[in-house]
Structures are given as C-alpha cells and as structure tokens.
C-alpha cells in the first residue's frame, strides 16, 4: 500500500486506493485546529466553514483520485492539484484561524517567528515564485514524481509556498500597517503576471516536457501534448480566477474601510 501518491507506471484504474499519509496529515491539521480553537473559546461559524473548505481542498487534491491522476498520469490534473494546494487551500486555512489564536501565535508561536522573515511581502513573492518555477521544472518533476517521498516533497513545497504567499494578504500577524489595501492589490496583480512564464512554457512548448506524463500509461481521451497545453491554460486561467477573486475581495474591503 502506498502512503502518498506517486507515479507507478501502472495502467489507470478507477479502483479506489487508500493513501494513509494524506489521512494522517488531514487528521493532524484537524486536531491542531480543534485544540487551538478550544483554547480560544469558540469560533465564528464563518471561520469554521473556511477551515472545512480549506481542508476539503487539501484532501480532494492529495487523495485518490485527483492525487493519483496528478502524480502519474496527467499534467493537467497535476496543475489542478497545484491550484488547490497552493492557491485555494492556504488562504481559506489562514482565514479560518480566529483572532485570539492569532494573538496567541504572535506572542509565543515559534512557527510564526520562524515564518516571519518569509512572510514579508517582497520575500514572500520571491519564495512563492521560486517554488512555483522549481516545482514545474521538468527535470525536478521527473526526478521526484516517481517516488512517494519526492511527490510528498513537491506537495509540501506547494503548501509552504501557498502559506507564505497568502500570509501577507490574509494573516493579521505580524501586523504590517504599511502593507495596506493598495499594496495588497498590487501584490496580487503581480502574482497574476509572475505565473505567465510557466503558462507560456507549458502551453506553447510544442513537445511534451514532462517524461512522467508523456510516458505514463495513457488516459484515452487526451494526448500528452493536449494534456500539457491544458495544464498551462489551467495555470493561467484557474490561477487568474483565484487571484482576481482575492483582488476583488481586497477592493471591497478597501472600499468598506474608506466608507468607515
């Protein structure tokens, strides 16, 4: 039994397979959230819903079938997985943390102190884009996707990249009064442009760039080239939907702040 999805070279089957590592990770995150929020004394329903949605995205992206298809069969599903893990789940999870928990983390959280340098907006942009480019570099992907540890590393890098990237926009600590709404909007718009190079590379490179997907047991309805083009388009369009939604949210909050 596999503990994490990886490329196996076996023909695709719709037979369910368990991935114990994914369940353990989800269980640890849920337990940590419950423990932290119990101490803070109650969580608004909206935050709980945000946490459930974020965890749902992570679970959907990493477990069977999305995780298995992404690891060893389709670059396009791999891109869906990236969008869910790095762009959708982290802001939902960060948003789900209630204010008293943030205040506690700010005061004594080792994790927050460790992450603080990386969550400065400029550093976060560099870290996020460096991880995005690295984890879409064909040699890196082909070297890692064949092993469970390698596939796990890529998924963890995406989670890290997502948390670092969204932290300056979503998390209230460390407080950055100078990083107001205009700069948050600019930060997010820059992110819509920064992924353009990966999008262009995947969409307009004529031959398949990932051996993992080119040589995978074929999925009947799509060729390796089409799959790669869909992956590139998903990165641009799917990422665009997420980022422009976030930009819209920032504008609404900015407007509301101006009204007050």
């Amino acid at each position: 039994m596999q503990w994490w999805c990886s490329a196996q070279g076996l023909a695709w089957s719709w037979t369910w397979r368990p991935y114990l590592g994914v369940w353990v990770m989800v269980g640890i995150l849920v337990a940590a959230y419950v423990r932290a929020t119990r101490r803070s004394g109650g969580v608004p329903p909206g935050r709980v819903a945000s946490f459930a949605a974020g965890m749902g995205c992570l679970w959907l992206a990493l477990d069977w079938p999305v995780g298995a298809l992404a690891a060893g069969y389709l670059a396009s599903v791999h891109m869906v997985q990236f969008l869910l893990v790095a762009l959708v789940a982290p802001p939902l999870l960060l948003h789900s943390i209630p204010a008293p928990v943030w205040e506690g983390l700010a005061g004594r959280g080792r994790l927050v102190r460790a992450l603080e340098p990386a969550t400065r907006p400029l550093v976060a942009t560099v870290v996020f884009n460096a991880i995005v480019w690295l984890t879409h570099w064909p040699r890196f992907v082909d070297a890692l996707m064949g092993s469970q540890a390698g596939s796990f590393l890529i998924d963890m890098l995406w989670i890290l990249a997502g948390v670092v990237f969204w932290w300056p926009v979503v998390a209230p600590v460390p407080a950055r009064p100078r990083f107001g709404y205009p700069l948050k909007v600019a930060y997010l718009i820059f992110a819509t442009v920064a992924n353009t190079s990966v999008f262009i590379y995947l969409t307009f490179t004529h031959l398949p760039v990932y051996a993992t997907y080119e040589l995978a047991p074929p999925i009947p309805w799509i060729s390796a080239r089409e799959d790669q083009q869909v992956a590139g388009l998903l990165m641009k369009m799917g990422g665009g939907v997420v980022l422009w939604t976030a930009i819209g949210v920032q504008f609404v909050r900015w407007y509301q702040a101006e009204q007050e």
């Binding site: 070279g9 353009t196 590379y201 031959l207 047991p217 504008f251």
Partner: protein, 217 residues
Amino acid sequence: MHRSPARWIGALALAAMAAGAACSKGAPARAAAVGRGAAPEALRGTELDPSWPKPDFTLTDTEGRPFDFRTRTDGFVTLLFFGYTHCPDVCPVHMANIAAVLADLDYADRARIRVVFVTTDPERDTPERLRAWLDRFDPSFVGLRGSEEAVNAVQAELHLPAPVRQPARPGPLPGAYAVGHAAQVIVFTADGRARVVYPFGTRQSDWAHDLPRLVAR
C-alpha cells in the same frame, strides 16, 4: 493623501498589461526542429553495430491481404514494433509518440517512413480491432497478424525474445491476460538494414531529433 480604488485599478491594469506583453515576447520557439536537411550527428536511439539485415517474412495485413515485409517496405525508413492492442502502457505510448512526431514532419520526409505493427496477441487482435486501434494513432500504420509460430520466428531473427502470456491483474474481465513482449522499436533505414533500436522511454523529442536524420541517411 488617499487615492481612490478606481485610480489604482487603472494604474495597475496598465502595469499588468505592459508586463504581460513583455513576457509574451519571450515565448519559446518549438522545442525541436524537425524537417529536412538535418545534420548527420549522433542519434538518440541505440545504434546497432553491426547492423542487421531486414527479415524476409510475409504476414497478413488488416485487410486480410498478404504483406511481404521486405518488398513492401523496400526503400522506406521502416519502424517495426511487436505488441498488442490490449497493452496498457508500452504499446500505446510508443504508437502515440511516433504518430505525434510523424504528424509534424514535412510531407517529403513523412512519405519516406513506414510504421509496421505486428501483433503478439492474434487471438484477441482481430483484423478489425487491430485496424481500429492503429487508426486511433495514424491510419497509415500497417497492422500485421500471423500465427504464433510465424511471429515468433520473425522476432527470433531480430534477436527479440518470444512473447509470454501472463495472467492479468484481477479485474472485471474474466479470462483477461497480458502479453509480455519486447518493448523496443526497430528502425530499418532505406538500405534495408536495421540500424537503430528505440527502447520504451523514447520520447517525442528523441523521435523528432532522429527521424529526419534517419530519412537523410
């Protein structure tokens, strides 16, 4: 001083468009140059030294007609592969990659290449099924069938192991089986000699690199 959101939107949209335009100028060209006039540099396949002669055999094509391999492929660069249509991995990947690259070649080069697929599973690969399966990749691919003895004899002549029937993984189809078979494509140049083999793992970029050079030889 506070600026309104609307003014920020305008400024940022202009900046984003400028950056996008700059990025699009750097769009990479096609990854591999395919076409005539390729330099005679080293091939990416495994070159056979010494080369092998083209085997002399006649099997039956998907129309039920005899296909004399040596005569019908004379003067062509010929890609010969032994596999079966129920193959879950090696066969469809090889065929799909070759077909994708052939579709990119210019007509003159493409017209000088033949792809011949010999089934190692004649029991299930009826002419109709074999034709339909090959048509998914390229209707010009030749599909051949023959008795187990005849096909094994051809493979032995080409130093390939005989196919082995193996029980398939448990599944919904009773009696299903897999066929273990050689995974390499053997390429004969126009002079009738087998000069290069391409194992499983050969990529479209490798075919795009080598096929024009094999035609040019």
